[in-house]
Subunit: 117 residues, 2 copies
């Protein structure tokens, strides 16, 4: 998995365990997609200071994941849900279903996609 | 939700953030299903001491949940998966499916049940 996506997932899961200041920086970095220079400017910090905060925060999040492993479980589960989804799609394509069944399976597929992403 | 089941879920999610000693007690309590008196006997503690450890541990776990909310998300998600499962079961019962589709949907139902429980 892409390292940025992985760090982002760690932040989604464990971010509230960081300090408010660390969260402020990571919110700008991940949610508002600002560059280090832009964050530095916004928060009156040096670019190096922002870099250090992000680096230390990501290390802290990684340690929480090492202890709890909840993101790893989540990723496995998403894979399983996506696999189920693929199977239901196959049924929808290959079998002659009545309209009601088609509707239900389409809804289920959409809902599974939402849950798995 | 039953309070014991809820505490158990908190422990499943955040237990690794407790001390080894707290984990030792909660493992005996939740996994081996021992009584307070039995745990006290096993670990050479007083019954009151065991009670205090469990109480303090559950409070710590509850605080992690208050901060992170991951168990609450999990419960909502299980509800959604169970609802999808109910719908797929309806299709399986009410529509005339070919054997391959039946097999796939039955597998999907079983797999969803595993993920949601």
């Amino acid at each position: 998995m892409d390292k940025i996506i992985q760090n982002r997932l760690f932040y989604d899961f464990y971010g509230e365990l960081l300090t408010k200041h660390q969260q402020e920086v990571l919110d700008l970095y991940y949610d508002e997609d600002l560059s280090l220079a832009e964050i530095a400017d916004r928060l009156k910090l040096s670019r190096q200071g922002v870099y250090d905060i992000i680096k230390r925060s990501n290390q802290a999040l990684k340690n929480y994941e090492k202890t709890l492993g909840l993101v790893s479980n989540e990723i496995k589960r998403r894979d399983r849900l996506n696999s189920i989804n693929g199977k239901i799609k196959r049924v929808l394509k290959s079998d002659k279903l009545n309209e009601e069944s088609k509707k239900i399976l389409k809804e289920s597929i959409q809902e599974l996609e939402k849950i798995a992403n």
